[in-house]
Amino acid sequence: MRLPLIVLCLMGALCGTVASGAPPPPFSDLNEVMGLLAMRQHGRVEFIEQHFLKVLNHPVESSGELRYDAPDRLEKRTIKPRAETLVLTGGVLTVERAHNKRVMDLHAYPQVQPFVESIRATLAGDRSALERLFHLEFTGSVARWTLTLIPVESKVKQSVAQVRIDGVRDQLLKVEIRQPDGDRSLMTLRPSTLP
């Protein structure tokens, strides 16, 4: 019975982590962006994430580092305000925080999986994986693009309305997750300066 709770935690977590896509059609451009992304084997960026929550008077902010190794390893290390490490490998998520370590299998939680998959598949340039879970909208050009992902499944729609990812060629700049209740999180990425 502790698992469902953890799951929900992670769902929240992933809302934060997940990238979002941007607008519409030049699908040849989308293919090109995907191709560029697919070529990157490693990525390491700093992130600043802001959560805009109705319940709070002002946004809460966290920051840290995001690392990616093709094709399916994603690590989110939050440094501030409290240390936390989140590692996704092969569909298994490990959350380490203070002395707690939890391992969970995302297959068990279909409602969570698309969130992880959105950012992982985007980073991997795996268009068909994205399309299994989202309606894709691509706008802009390869030089400056926005990918908007809208969940296909209604279950997922209950916790996430939309994921929007802004990028330049094979770099992700912003990941915004909107929730149906109006709360949202915004992750801004920039090249890592951390050691």
Binding site: M1, L3, C9, A13, V55, V60, A108, D181
Partner: protein, 798 residues
């Protein structure tokens, strides 16, 4: 004469009817208790409770193997779904996230009574400020964001605290949504039965339900999407049920097989159906009376006692063999004295000698042995009496069996050949045998006896290893090490459990233990809840504190109105009782850790070792509990305790057996009035026992309590042989040596057949008995025959 005969028969029929009545109404038990102490000490009682009804006994470990991972996951989910609806299981866990809703509601509703963080300081202005700050920090992390919607009601994050409290136990790995083994080749699940582990019928049903659920979920194993997926079950209940079936199967099969062989043997020898029918009367009467005596003496009969009923055949069939064959001599010789006068005293002495042997089982603390002792004693006496009084009364006038004198004569001739080696040589060989036995047994003295209870277990090493592997994968404590606190009611044990948990937490922190469970994790004591409830401030006070606490935080007071309401509601709400747990998955966890027997309540706190499967330094656990002034807490290492218990039985049984042997010696001294004759009677028995023990030791077999029982049987059966040879040599009318030898060889053959078959069974206890008694009985006869004072008998014969 006729009147006397009628009286005997009526008396016998009455006895049979009465015994049958008792046997039919007797209560039969098939649980483990045959192996558990009859009058336990308090620690032993805890052990008994654990072995019988402990949480471990209710767990069935389910593994799905072969097929592909996705198929295993599908089958696991489908099976678990079906079993969760089955009232025979109190919980079924395969790693899937289910049943969460009711749990969440329960935890959330009672969060201020269940959270360990709830103290008066927490609701002061500074405490609230710190708690809310943490909650807000959490919002930027996955764990906290989930609780976002709960924040207005739970700004201090008590639900998260409780979740962390409950999440201290490690979970197994998951793949495709279900638990899997470390190497991911198996899908795993754990089912907890509603019935206690000692209810083997219910356990058997539960196991059948799991198999049915698997069959339904997996579909056709040869084709279809789930092809190839295999089910494998493990756990104490699975072992117990399998063992019971195995023992029953083996007992039935062996009883049938040995009956057929013995009947065939007797038919060949007697060539007479009436003789065969009559010959079986002492055995059947003995068995019936034996079971009835146990039922009367103990109130209930252990299944295992019946299983050993076969042991009785060994000796009681012999009685009728002696009677029929030796009666012939009486008739041949047209003697003026009957078998009763000539031979009965010897049979009676042999029977009494056996009784001495079996009586040594009576004082045992081991109920299984006690019952076996009473069963054998009463059965033997009944069989002997039937042979003495009933058989002669039933013997038809024209009764005749085949003359076995030629056979006996051939045996006697062979024997003469052997005896010709001379007395000195026989003595020399005997001394050599004794020396060999001493050397071998002394050399192996440390490992001669197996002092572990598992030696009696019908569970194979392979199965035990598999079970251990599943447990390691599941991160499930094998509930080997326990802290147990007892008290007169539930509240008192929960309080003690909380104090023990406090002491144990120190050991977790310094890595002496990896962790522990406690029923108080699921349901704190009333006292603790009361302290938490009374630490909640009044609405006005809380409101004031909150206002102060929110200074500098991005939270608005007006959003937290639900928090104020919930606190106020909790202040006036009832405390949580075990009844409130109903319907949550917490209930199974709580139930498993609380035992209630009569006026005695016990809380169990199973310990996990710091390294998986590693040992726990129990001395430090004991010391920590002592420091915490928890003198009434018991620390139990189940394996060590049960082994100690068994080792105790074993030493006791060895001592009593020696006492029994002493009693037998005294009995013979009184009856035979000659130390030399007694020595001659006992020597072949001692040699046979030594030879068998030496043989087993050389073969690398460790002796168990069942081997000891086997040795008693060698002495019991063998004493008859030796006494007949003694009688042959010393009685005025020794009778034909050929007939005596024939009857002994045939009796011996039936014993060796019966016990020899046991050696081929799959059940270790039966194998132990068979491999001891079959060769032992044969050697006892051989040694008795070779060492018999032949000259005397010979003189008489000529």
């Amino acid at each position: 004469m006729m009147v006397r005969r009628a009286r005997v028969l009526i008396l016998w029929a009455g006895c049979i009817a009465f015994a049958a009545f008792i046997v039919a109404r007797a209560h039969y038990i098939t649980d483990l208790s045959a192996f558990l102490p009859a009058n336990p000490t308090p620690v032993q009682q805890l052990l008994v409770d654990q072995l019988r009804d402990g949480p471990a006994t209710r767990l069935i470990l389910i593994a799905l193997e072969q097929g592909d991972a996705a198929a295993r996951a599908r089958v696991s989910a489908a099976m678990a779904g079906q079993l969760r609806k089955d009232p025979r299981f109190s919980s079924v866990n395969n790693g899937e996230a289910v049943a969460g809703q009711r749990d969440r509601e329960f935890l959330f509703q009672h969060r201020y009574l269940l959270s360990e963080a709830v103290t008066a300081e927490r609701f002061s202005a500074s405490g609230l400020n710190a708690a809310m700050k943490e909650t807000i920090d959490n919002l930027s992390s996955p764990a906290g964001l989930l609780f976002k919607t709960l924040l207005p009601r739970d700004p201090t994050g008590e639900l998260l605290n409780i979740v962390d409290q409950l999440a201290r136990a490690p979970s197994p790995q998951s793949r495709d949504g279900v638990w899997v083994s470390a190497d991911a080749t198996r899908a795993l699940a754990v089912a907890q039965t509603a019935a206690s582990g000692s209810d083997s019928d219910a356990q058997s049903e539960a196991i059948a339900a799991i198999r049915t659920a698997f069959a339904t979920a997996a579909g056709d194993s040869r084709q279809g999407p789930n092809k190839g997926v295999q089910l494998r079950l493990s756990g104490p209940a699975v072992f117990a049920v399998a063992a019971r079936a195995k023992i029953e199967r083996a007992a039935v099969r062996l009883a049938i097989a040995s009956s057929i062989l013995v009947v065939a043997l007797l038919l060949i020898v007697y060539r007479s159906l009436p003789a065969l029918g009559l010959g079986l009367l002492p055995v059947t009467t003995g068995a019936l009376v034996g079971v009835a005596s146990v039922a009367l003496g103990f109130g209930a009969v252990h299944g295992i006692t019946l299983g050993f009923g076969i042991t009785l055949i060994g000796e009681s069939v012999d009685y009728s063999i002696y009677f029929f064959i030796q009666s012939r001599h009486v008739r041949n010789a047209a003697a003026d004295r009957s078998w009763q006068q000539l031979w009965w005293p010897t049979v009676r002495l042999g029977m009494l000698a056996s009784v001495c042997g079996f009586a040594s089982l009576l004082p045992s603390g081991f109920p299984g042995l006690k019952q076996l002792g009473l069963y054998s004693i009463s059965g033997l006496i009944a069989a002997a009496l039937v042979t003495r009084f009933v058989l002669p009364a039933l013997l038809p006038g024209d009764f005749a069996i085949r003359d076995v004198t030629p056979f006996g004569a051939r045996v006697a001739a062979r024997l003469q050949g052997v005896r010709r080696i001379g007395r000195a040589a026989i003595v020399l060989w005997s001394v050599a045998l004794v020396m060999l036995a001493i050397v071998v047994l002394y050399h192996d003295r440390a490992t001669l006896w197996n002092r572990e209870l598992s030696a009696l277990s019908p569970v194979s090493i392979e199965e035990q290893n598999y079970d251990a592997k599943l447990r390691a994968d599941l991160g499930a404590a094998d509930v080997r090490d326990l802290v147990i606190v007892s008290g007169p009611d539930q509240e008192s044990i929960l309080r003690s459990a909380e104090r023990a948990a406090h002491a144990l937490q120190g050991l977790v922190d310094d890595k002496t233990i990896g962790g522990f469970e406690s029923p108080a994790n699921y349901l704190p004591s009333m006292a603790t809840q009361e302290i938490r409830r009374s630490s909640l401030p009044s609405a006005s006070e809380l409101s004031a504190n909150l206002k102060q606490a929110l200074d500098g935080l991005p939270l608005r007071a007006d959003r937290l109105q639900p928090f104020l309401e919930d606190i106020e509601a909790t202040r006036h709400a009832a405390l949580v009782t075990s009844r409130d747990l109903a319907g949550t998955s917490l209930n199974a966890g709580f139930d498993a850790l609380v035992l209630h027997r009569r006026d005695q309540w016990s809380a169990l706190l199973p310990l996990r070792s710091a390294a998986a499967g590693g040992p726990i330094d129990m001395a430090r656990v004991v010391a920590a509990l002592k420091d915490a002034k928890l003198e009434d807490a018991q620390v139990l290492d189940l394996k060590q305790e049960s082994d100690a218990l068994y080792a105790g039985y074993l030493s006791e049984a060895i001592r009593f057996s020696l006492a029994g042997f002493l009693a037998l010696t005294v009995l013979l001294l009184i009856a035979l009035r000659s130390p030399l004759r007694v020595a001659r009677v006992l020597a072949p028995l001692v040699l046979a026992v030594l030879a068998v023990a030496t043989g087993l030791a050389i073969a690398g077999v460790q002796l168990t309590i069942l081997h000891l029982v086997g040795m008693l049987l060698i002495v019991a059966v063998g004493s008859n042989y030796a006494l007949f040879f003694d009688r042959q040599a010393h009685a005025e009318d020794g009778g034909s040596e050929a007939l005596t030898l024939a009857s002994l060889v045939i009796a011996n053959a039936s014993t060796v057949i019966g016990f020899g078959l046991l050696s081929f069974s799959q059940v270790p206890v039966l194998v132990a008995l068979g491999t001891t008694v079959a060769p032992g009985a044969f050697l006892a006869l051989l040694f008795a025959a070779i060492g018999a004072p032949a000259a005397n008998a010979h003189a008489q014969h000529s």
